[in-house]
């Protein structure tokens, strides 16, 4: 218990909470757009994994971490295009397609990783992000070091909340997104292209999913491990569901999971009777418990998961 309080009292802990939550926020907030357009973003796991791998490639070969993030966006974006083509154009089942794409991303990344780098005795080291202190703001006691002396991508993740909120509720495109997700046929009658809006929303998820994945590989670590995402795409999806398909909800959900993740990592370092593997399972157990207790009644977009066919009513 004392250890627990020690952890919570340490400002450094909150720095890592934000860092753990960052990839989740990026994906969950972009995913809110796709979800509100009626697209299940379960496939985010695949976009992230591809992003993580492409990010490493870009960063390693150019020796510049920002090139890595750019290639990660390209990788995630291209992958999301496959998803969009399948579920929007071919109208395949979204969950089945997502699972297929996740398996594909796992095979693709581990094949190309081993065919590019062979068997590694020493892990690769690619350039990583460095904290960027915002002048003045980072000097605020306690809050400054936590919020304003962070990795640049963390700022991006934090900015995503107001951006996505504004886009979704205050712009015409956001209105279109919500219309397409709730009443695709009415939207279609009004001349909104359901197909185009859904493609756009999916691609945005892919681009940000790519960044989120790259944050895992070249954010701090500087290397790639098979299946490095470890289900974070699924957890981001849970954050959306848990946040009831709103940007603020998805943001808070991501923060909660980031908190759980950071906590379990700290707890692992303490000697205790509880085996450390138990702590690894904590975020996953939390997800299940939350789904069972809090979520209960969903308010999901009415057309969620349904392909749009003009001839149907």
């Amino acid at each position: 218990m004392v250890e627990f309080l020690q952890i919570l009292a340490n400002p450094q802990f909150y720095v890592s909470v934000l860092r753990m939550a960052t990839p989740l926020m990026l994906v969950a907030l972009a995913g809110v757009l796709a979800e509100r357009a009626g697209i299940i973003t379960f496939s985010a796991e695949a976009f992230m994994l591809v992003g993580a791998f492409f990010g490493l490639l870009g960063s390693y070969f150019s020796d510049n971490v920002w090139v890595g993030f750019l290639t990660a966006m390209i990788g995630g974006g291209l992958f999301s295009l496959i998803y969009a083509f399948m579920v929007v154009t071919l109208k395949t089942n979204q969950i089945v397609t997502s699972v297929a794409l996740i398996l594909f991303s796992q095979g693709l990344t581990s094949y190309f990783f081993s065919s590019t780098f062979g068997v590694l005795l020493v892990p690769l080291q690619a350039p990583t992000l460095k904290p960027f202190a915002i002048p003045l703001l980072s000097k605020i006691p306690i809050l400054g070091p936590i919020l304003f002396n962070q990795l640049p991508i963390v700022y991006l993740a934090l900015l995503m909340l107001p951006i996505v909120h504004f886009v979704l509720y205050k712009t015409t495109w956001g209105l279109n997104v919500r219309a397409v997700g709730d009443h695709p046929h009415a939207a279609d009658t009004l001349g909104i292209s359901v197909v185009r809006v859904r493609y756009q929303a999916i691609i945005i998820t892919g681009l940000l999913g790519g960044i989120a994945g790259a944050f895992l590989s070249i954010g701090q670590l500087g290397t790639f491990i098979d299946n490095i995402t470890g289900g974070r795409g699924f957890i981001a999806y849970c954050a959306i569901v848990f946040g009831r398909w709103t940007p603020i909800g998805a943001f808070l959900g991501s923060l909660l999971f980031g908190f759980a993740d950071a906590l379990q990592m700290r707890l692992q370092n303490f000697e205790s009777v509880i085996p450390h593997q138990f702590y690894i399972a904590v975020p996953y157990i939390l997800t299940v418990v939350l789904l069972a207790t809090v979520v209960g009644k969903h308010r999901m977009p009415a057309a969620s998961g349904k392909a749009f066919r003009r001839e149907e009513h």
Partner: protein
Amino acid sequence: MNELQPAAQKTTEFWSSGLKHFGGRFLNTFYKTQRITVPVIAALIALIIGGLLIASSGSSAAESYTVLVRGAFGSLSRLGYTIGQMVPLVFTGLAVAVAYQGGVFNLGGQGQLLMGGIGATLVSISFPNMPPVIHIPMAILAAALFGMIWAYIPGIMKAKLGVTAVITTLMFNYIADAIMEWAVRGPLQGAEGGVPASRLIYESARIPMLGGSGISSSILIALVTVLFIYILLYRTTVGFSIRCVGLNPVAGVYAGIRSSRTIMTSMLLSGALAGMAGGIEILATTFRLWESLLHGYGFTGITVALVGGLHPVGVLIAALFFGALRSGANSMQVLMRIPVPIVFIIQALTILFVVAGTAVRFHGTADLTEGSNVNDPSKSECEDPDEEQADAPVLDGGEGDK
């Protein structure tokens, strides 16, 4: 309509019903052959793309595939190895198929398999001096039971609370991973030199080879299970209820089927099958619990089930195909220096093309591709098990699962 003469009206009716009848027949035949042709074409395209990847890495694709085929079927011992790879896939494939037919997309096969492995190990390392006829079935039963327990919570959450099994089963995979990691380093650790693995299981619990041929008799257990699941799904009322709930839970209610109970049945059955996959792998192949040896079977089961059209016999064929790929890939890695994950690419491409192919096949006609009929009783009725379409694969599940 009123201006038509009665006779003319009759003729029109005759023709339209005839057309409908013929069209239905035609579509049925078309559909039946497509069930085989779509996966076959998908696998072929996937193999071609895999070949292009191999060629782009500087090796000869033809030579590599020859090595692959030889590695999978070249000798009796290689065949034995392929069958060893195939058997767990039959079980995990059946596990996904059974749940899917019941309207639950069980992505937790991997976790249930790990738990099954732990269950089988517990029984097979703790009872010395037992006759194999009792020890082996006991260990398999323990595996099934452990897998069932692991499927129980996601099942009950889906059945009672309507929480999507897609997420819960996945989360249970990660939890099972952690338990496994702990078990082989903690209470079950028994290998020499502190290696994270259990000690070897008793001889009496090992599934014997078929007359010293190098082929494990676990294939017989797999074949019997395939037959059992086929009969259960297509020839019993339990199976009818499962398929009915999977196709349309609301219509199921009208037919007097309690959907939550049926969901539990298919989920528990699914968990038991996945658990058996893990158990049999240990009893027949590895002879000890070793976490990394079980990796990948659970997820490949999803591919096997979908490519196999969710039908037990399809699952068997798909399992042989993917099992052969896996065992052949090892030869390819050793002899041609082509990384084993090429297999995962071929697998994933196959399933992607099957999903896409299924969508194109039903384009604009049926809801099978996305299952939007799930909550609309008017759209689809539970069909009679004897009717031809009753065993239609329903590549939906997602909707029923939300």
